[in-house]
């Protein structure tokens, strides 16, 4: 069926789904109409607009069935390892064991948005001392208490040190509920002094060698912890094999971003690009399916580019977005205001970069871990953002503050000023709450002003 790219509401997708099935759409086991997720509680879907491609359908279905997948893994005898905070590195170690699967309980921060806050996770967290002064990741505590949004992991591994205060407190609260945590120390990434041995990291940062050595020791202890759980040792070749698979997936995703952010007409919507990026953190508990989904997406994107078919007007302003949004609707709103996503820094740039090809896989992973944008200074992060802005040709920057987050108040103003001073790009800071409906007029006004400014600058 040859259909032009379009964005559909949830109810419009029902009709589209019926058409696709009638013409022979083949789906993976987790397939089905999107509406069923809303019927099962993901009410926010009713407020969103989705890409009309089968690729987008698969992507959404894959994302929204992770809980089922985790429960199936458990039924199949796999151990579920909750990896927390480091966003991208420890799952590679975990997934090198055949009988283990990694996921981030941190991801529960989107649950209140998807459920339109009908699930009560924030209320449960508040009853445990984590009120609205903490960032939405406090929902994770609620999910551990009620056990309704993911199976309670068989083990938890959490990075601490150069992390946000909100997460450190929330993770500690999880431990105080009786869930034992293996803590590992993430140092603040420091610029090497002239007398130190220095390493260039995958994201372009540099760090002193002793920090890499420290992280290698930490990762080795995590490996030993996992080996103890698994009852067997991990051969370095198993880890190397996983790294090769991960690199293949990461390169595929980089192709998706490069094509979508640089093609004159946006071939895919911002919301789907956000979701695809989120898969990169722990592959939504299934690396093979992540690879398949990204392949299908990439194919759809290439077809659209070849047909000069896009999903947004050709003059959409090219926006770089900093920080993930608590409310998925913000991505739709950006497009409604005349923008398109052309660059992102969602706090896990290190999970998108290929892992260095090193003889010692643990050293390679240590370098990845230390590439975490959150582990360094706001200036480091601003420079990373600037590199990406130049790569993608972004015209303006949105810095999206996370409500309550310990890093946003200081970091946002530093990044904003740095970008304005060094790149001369228009920049705004906005705060996107978990449900942004009541803030929509203000958010819309600010986004429209930014986009208007970006478009005006084209003429000068």
């Amino acid at each position: 069926m040859n259909t032009l790219p379009a964005q559909l509401t949830l109810s419009q997708w029902q009709e589209r789904y019926a058409q696709l099935k009638a013409t022979g759409l083949q789906e993976p086991a987790y397939g089905g109409p999107l509406l069923r997720h809303a019927d099962q509680g993901d009410k926010r879907l009713g407020c969103l607009k989705f890409d009309n491609s089968p690729a987008a359908l698969h992507l959404w279905n894959f994302l929204l069935t992770e809980e089922d997948r985790l429960r199936q893994h458990r039924t199949d005898g796999k151990r579920i390892i909750g990896t927390m905070k480091d966003l991208g590195t420890v799952p590679i170690l975990v997934n090198s064991f055949d009988d283990m699967v990694a996921f981030y309980p941190d991801g529960a921060w989107w649950t209140p948005c998807l459920k339109q806050m009908n699930e009560g996770l924030f209320e449960i967290a508040a009853q445990r001392g984590l009120d609205e002064s903490f960032c939405p990741v406090r929902a994770m505590v609620g999910a551990f208490v009620n056990g309704k949004h993911f199976p309670i992991p068989d083990a938890l591994i959490c990075s601490v040190g150069a992390t946000c205060d909100d997460f450190s407190v929330a993770a500690q609260r999880v431990e105080s509920l009786g869930h034992s945590i293996f803590w590992w120390e993430m140092p603040h990434r420091r610029t090497s002094s002239a007398t130190e041995s220095s390493v260039v990291l995958p994201c372009g940062f540099t760090a002193p060698q002793y920090q890499i050595d420290h992280l290698r020791r930490q990762l080795q202890k995590i490996q030993q912890f996992l080996e103890h759980k698994a009852g067997r040792t991990l051969h370095p070749d198993d880890l190397r094999r996983t790294i090769r698979k991960v690199n293949h997936i990461r390169r595929m995703f980089r192709d998706i971003q490069q094509l979508c952010f640089t093609t004159p007409i946006a071939p895919m919507g911002s919301l789907e690009l956000l979701i695809a990026e989120m898969l990169m953190i722990h592959f939504c508990s299934d690396m093979a399916q992540t690879e398949w989904i990204l392949n299908v997406l990439l194919s759809e994107i290439r077809t659209r580019i070849n047909n000069t078919a896009g999903i947004l007007p050709a003059d959409a302003a090219r926006i770089f977005w900093v920080n993930p949004v608590a409310d998925l609707y913000a991505m739709n709103l950006l497009e409604e205001c005349g923008g398109r996503l052309c660059g992102t820094e969602f706090l896990f740039a290190h999970a998108l970069e290929p892992i260095p090809d090193q003889d010692d896989p643990l050293t390679a992973l240590a370098q990845m871990a230390l590439s975490d944008p959150m582990a360094g200074s706001a200036f480091d992060r601003a420079e990373l953002i600037a590199r990406k802005i130049r790569q993608f040709g972004s015209e303006a920057v949105v810095i999206s503050r996370i409500p309550g987050a310990s890093h946003c108040a200081s970091e946002g103003r530093i990044i904003s000023r740095w970008i304005q001073d060094n790149l001369g790009l228009p920049t705004i800071e906005i705060e996107v709450p978990t449900l942004s409906d009541s803030y929509r007029p203000s958010l819309q006004t600010r986004l429209e002003a930014l986009i208007e400014t970006a478009k005006t600058r084209r003429k000068s």
Binding site: V160, Q172, P187, A378, S406
Partner: protein, 287 residues
């Protein structure tokens, strides 16, 4: 000599002094709190930055990574043109790897200080006896015995608290963030000779109590031990606006078999609401 400002109990002041520079522990003045108004930024961070801005002669400053807000205070300091600053990475775990990491950080700090003073640290000048021991207030009958935690609690805040307690209460255990250095173990003379950075790292990291240490139960276990040796009637938790860590501690304290807890959020100047709460707390304690 250029003074070196710091505000964290994990900064070894003796290392600063050994490099020939006078250590200056920051203590916010009441007026500093008036400038602390930025939404989302911890008042302890903002008062520190405000206090530094007021310095009229050259100085150096040590920031630490003990919390995310203070870690980013170093960014803000640099963004506002501050120089002679050093960010000391303080691990929040306390195992051997963390001690080694902290020892390396202390070597970096020594090099930074050495560049300012022109010479390396003279470790033989470091006294290895116990840190200054905070004497408990003489116990006075009928006064409620209070343990103070939270903070950092500046001298002006402490004075305001003591004034509010009046003759109905007295602070018998000051375990506020800027006072916990008193509980650190003494340095080992032989270990200082063998590897001073490692010994400083081990002593500071492993025996300075902090609610930021993970696993978090270590702090509560330490507090419970203190409360076994110093009987108290109530615990006063003073926290600054936008401090996640102490806010997180409040609930945990209430879950434990500890004396009653009063948490007050106090931005420095005596506030009617905070004082009323303190008075009600004393009343509840029967004073």
């Amino acid at each position: 000599m250029m003074p070196v400002w710091y505000n964290c109990p994990f900064v070894p002041a003796e290392l600063i002094a050994a490099c020939g520079l006078p250590p200056r522990r920051f203590d916010a003045e009441a007026a500093d709190f008036c400038a602390a108004q930025t939404e989302g930024i911890c008042f302890a961070v903002e008062t520190f930055l405000t206090g530094l801005k007021k310095q009229t002669s050259p100085y150096a400053v040590i920031f630490t990574t003990l919390c995310d807000q203070m870690r980013r205070a170093y960014d803000l300091y640099q963004a506002n043109g501050g120089n002679n600053g050093f960010l000391l990475n303080v691990p929040v775990t306390t195992g051997p790897d963390a001690v080694s990491l902290f020892a390396e950080e202390l070597r970096q700090m020594e090099q930074f200080l050495g560049r300012l003073s022109g010479h390396a640290a003279q470790f033989d000048t470091i006294k290895t006896d116990a840190p200054l021991s905070k004497l408990s207030e003489p116990q006075q009958n009928n006064r409620a015995k209070i343990a103070l935690i939270g903070g950092p609690v500046s001298a002006c805040q402490l004075a305001a608290l003591e004034h509010s307690l009046g003759d109905r209460g007295t602070i018998v255990l000051n375990a506020a963030e800027n006072a916990v250095g008193q509980f650190r173990r003494p340095l080992n003379p032989q270990a200082m000779k063998n590897d001073p950075h490692l010994e400083l790292a081990a002593a500071y990291l492993q025996t300075t109590p902090s609610m930021r240490t993970r696993p978090g139960h270590l702090f509560y276990a330490w507090l419970e031990t203190q409360l076994q040796t110093t009987a108290v009637d109530g615990i006063l938790l003073l926290r600054h606006p936008f401090c996640d860590h102490w806010r997180g501690v409040e609930y945990q304290l209430r879950q434990r078999p500890l004396p009653p807890v009063l948490a007050i959020e106090w931005n420095g100047s005596p506030q009617a609401a905070a004082i009323s709460r303190l008075e009600a707390f004393l009343e509840m304690l029967g004073r």
